[in-house]
């Protein structure tokens, strides 16, 4: 029988100095932290790792405490719990024998982990005589405990939650970043980030959660083979992400740096949390950071300062910063994704509505007993949220373009942007309508057709001859189906043969609609410099507006089509008006 005896010179001298007999192979190890070992879990994990890495024992003997001074620290219970809860050491099912002067009922009353003493595979003795101890051991069952006995142990034991995980630094932060990095993401050819998680993985509470969560995962061994996810987000190349989270240094910063680098995106991390003791000062500094980066997506945690844990302090820091990001005076179309730990905010749907965020991602918590499927879903939610924000960030560019410009207060353009921000297909018809209204109003307010001869810009010294230059085609119902303009009749007239159905636009009062259309197309073509194919896009959009408005069906245009229209046509109008001002 191979026995491991752990002690700190607080067991009878005979236990460590005398021979235990030929049939017992005894290994003795001292467990003695130095004064620099502030974190007992890290110390124990490190020490036991080296003991168990090259040995297999049938029985582990240890005292209730390893303190030379204070026997009621019960660090022996902590060590035993580490052995039970660290499967990597291959001794989690081995029998454990406690030796000491204490009665188990005393230990059970004084230690919150005392219930372990009554779990399967754990026994104790108060003998201080080596022959008695050896005799007792020989009568002991040294069989490994079974899976169900291990579950019984898990149900009995109580591992206290570290206080900083109970409040500000939720355990979800470290769990989720490790889970995404080590379990969910298949790094393949990509470089895996280096995340210092030793303190976290050594933590007894973490091991306990893993063991409890592991119960659920015994049945999914082929999971990794069937679920492969790369460390990148497609479709965000060239985008800029700003990350504001006081937990950034728990590994999130490193993980996101890799993911966004692999995605071709740029990541900026706010890292000046420590420099600001005062919440107001911190918020002002973060707001400055926000405004210094023209980000496509602001990944924002809500609780960023200790004061955020005081219910009497009103809005959370994240709320105040989100208000700033979405400030209409600056740019209401900036995109916020809330990235928060699961136990921090109760009603996230309500939260994102209040904040005006595009989406939210709750960092998964092991206490919610997450499976790998849940973790994968969580990571995919993150990808989708960032992608959604980046997809919509063009709207903030539109507002930026409009700022201080002739069209800053344009009702149809602002309305279009606000509707597009909703990112809901039910508003697509209204978006089509608003873009139409913008071009129609613009033509109406800024241009005049004089006797079918010229188009004149009302607020500028600009005039263009249009006589015989605008041609249209009709269908059998006399409805206009195409309208095009010529710049030079001599060279282009041959394209517009009567035999092909082309005819001149009529400008008299009996053709008001035709004249109105001609004015819009002429303004786009002759003043704003659009070509005929872009003018045709407007013509088609106008037709779509009429059809969807009158026949009450959902337009066939999607947000990408409307964005392309805005980029190619509306922006040309805006830019031309701006350059005309100069």
């Amino acid at each position: 029988m191979k026995i491991l005896l752990l002690h700190n010179n607080n067991v009878p001298f005979s236990f460590i100095s005398e021979n235990w007999g030929d049939d017992i192979d005894l290994e003795i190890e001292i467990i003695k932290p130095s004064t620099d070992d502030n974190d007992y879990d890290v110390f124990v994990s490190h020490q036991l790792e080296s003991i168990f890495s090259s040995n297999t024992f049938d029985l582990i003997i240890l005292p209730y405490s390893f303190s030379e001074y204070n026997p009621i620290e019960y660090t022996g219970l902590i060590v035993a719990a580490h052995i039970r809860l660290t499967p990597e050491w291959n001794h989690s099912r081995k029998p454990i024998l406690f030796v000491g002067s204490e009665e188990t009922k005393q230990v059970a009353k004084l230690s919150e982990m005392g219930s372990m003493l009554f779990s399967p595979g754990v026994c104790s003795t108060r003998t201080n005589s080596l022959p008695n101890l050896i005799g007792g051991i020989k009568e002991l069952s040294v069989e490994d405990i079974t899976d169900s006995e291990f579950d019984d142990f898990l149900n009995r034991i109580q591992i206290p939650r570290p206080s900083n995980y109970a409040t500000h630094h939720s355990i979800a932060n470290e769990w989720a970043v490790m889970r995404w990095t080590n379990v969910i993401i298949n790094w393949g050819e990509y470089e895996k980030p280096s995340i210092d998680s030793q303190t976290f993985t050594s933590m007894l509470y973490f091991k306990y959660l893993i063991a409890k969560e592991g119960v659920k995962e015994r049945f999914s061994r082929n999971w990794k083979k069937n679920n492969v996810i790369a460390p990148k987000i497609t479709g965000i190349s060239g985008k800029t992400i700003a990350y504001i989270d006081d937990e950034y240094n728990k590994g999130w910063g490193s993980l996101f740096s890799k993911i966004f680098e692999n995605s071709g995106a740029k990541l900026y991390i706010y890292d000046r949390f420590k420099g600001h003791k005062n919440r107001k000062e911190l918020i002002l500094d973060i707001n400055e950071f926000v405004d210094s980066i023209d980000a496509d997506c602001y990944l924002l945690d809500l609780r960023l300062h200790d004061d955020d844990f005081d219910k009497n302090k009103g809005k959370l820091s994240g709320h105040i910063i989100a208000d700033h990001i979405k400030d209409p005076k600056i740019n209401r179309a900036r995109q916020v994704v809330i990235f928060s730990a699961s136990d921090k905010v109760w009603n996230m749907k309500e939260e994102i509505q209040k904040i005006g965020a595009i989406d939210y991602v709750l960092k998964e918590s092991p206490e919610a007993n997450f499976t790998k499927e849940d973790s994968l879903k969580n990571f995919n939610e993150f990808i989708a949220a960032v992608k959604k924000a980046c997809d919509l960030s063009y709207l903030k560019d539109y507002l930026k373009l409009l700022k201080g410009n002739t069209f800053e207060t344009s009702f149809p353009l602002n309305n279009y942007i606000d509707l597009a921000l909703l990112n809901n297909k039910n508003v697509l018809n209204s978006c089509v309508l608003n873009l139409n209204v913008f071009i129609e109003d613009n033509a109406e307010n800024r241009f005049e057709l004089t006797d079918g001869m010229n188009i004149v810009k009302k607020d500028a010294n600009w005039k263009c001859v249009i006589l015989n230059k605008i041609k249209l085609k009709r269908d059998s119902n006399k409805k206009i189906i195409a309208i095009e303009c010529m710049r030079d009749i001599a060279s282009e007239a041959k394209k517009y043969k009567r035999t092909d159905g082309w005819e001149d636009v009529k400008y008299d009062d009996s053709h008001k609609k035709e004249r109105h259309m001609a004015k819009m197309i002429a303004s786009l073509f002759y003043y704003y410099g659009l070509n005929n194919s872009d003018c045709a896009r407007f013509f088609e959009l106008r037709k779509e507006r009429n059809t969807s408005a009158h026949e009450a069906h959902l337009t066939s245009y999607d947000f990408a089509d409307l964005k392309a229209f805005f980029d190619d046509i509306i922006i040309k109008i805006i830019m031309k008006e701006e350059s005309a001002k100069i």
Partner: protein, 194 residues
């Protein structure tokens, strides 16, 4: 009256952990000084110095503070949020405790007691274990006897003990009387009401 210095670079942590009423009580205690920075030159004027571990660690001051307080026989409490293992080291002169235990009613009540009661010894045990503080010493007493081969009724032979053990047993005997392993056990059970 025992004077206590509490140094925490994030003072909001105190209010958040303690809650409004306990925090107000902490602030009202005349024997407590709160600060956000460590002034190593001034710490020896206090009987107990409690500092957030990370603050000392980040400033590389742990060894210096330990040495100064150890030389002057003052108590040091290092509290930290991450580690729930509460330990007493350096022969009872230093405690490593969780922030949740440090910022708790038990601790504040103990500090209040230090304003009036003339408590001289075992300050950290009394803070950590409250009314059960004696058990820490009785268990040590029992452990010293057990380790050296005592039976239920009889003390071990003195030649079994080394000098440190003899000194420790003498001190325990002086404080709790000459007791057998069995009697110590009965005392413990009496305190624990077992």
């Amino acid at each position: 009256m025992k004077k206590i210095l509490i140094v925490d670079d994030r003072p909001m942590r105190q209010e958040n952990q303690l809650g409004k009423d306990l925090f107000e009580k902490l602030c009202s205690l005349d024997n407590i000084t709160r600060d956000t920075k460590v002034d190593v030159n001034g710490i020896t004027q206090y009987d107990i110095v409690a500092i957030h571990y990370s603050l000392l660690d980040n400033n590389g001051l742990i060894k210096e503070v330990r040495d100064i307080l150890s030389r002057s026989g003052k108590c040091l409490i290092l509290f930290s949020g991450g580690n729930p293992t509460n330990r007493i080291i350096n022969s009872g002169k230093e405690a490593l405790v969780s922030a949740s235990l440090f910022y708790s009613k038990r601790t504040i009540d103990f500090f209040e007691l230090l304003m009036t009661d003339d408590i001289e010894h075992h300050l950290l045990e009394k803070m950590l274990y409250g009314k059960n503080w004696k058990i820490a010493f009785l268990e040590r007493y029992a452990q010293l006897l057990w380790v050296n081969g005592a039976s239920m009724e009889k003390w071990p032979d003195t030649e079994e003990l080394n000098d440190d053990e003899i000194q420790a047993l003498n001190e325990l005997e002086k404080e709790f009387g000459h007791k057998s392993f069995k009697e110590i056990n009965e005392d413990i059970n009496r305190i624990l009401k077992i």
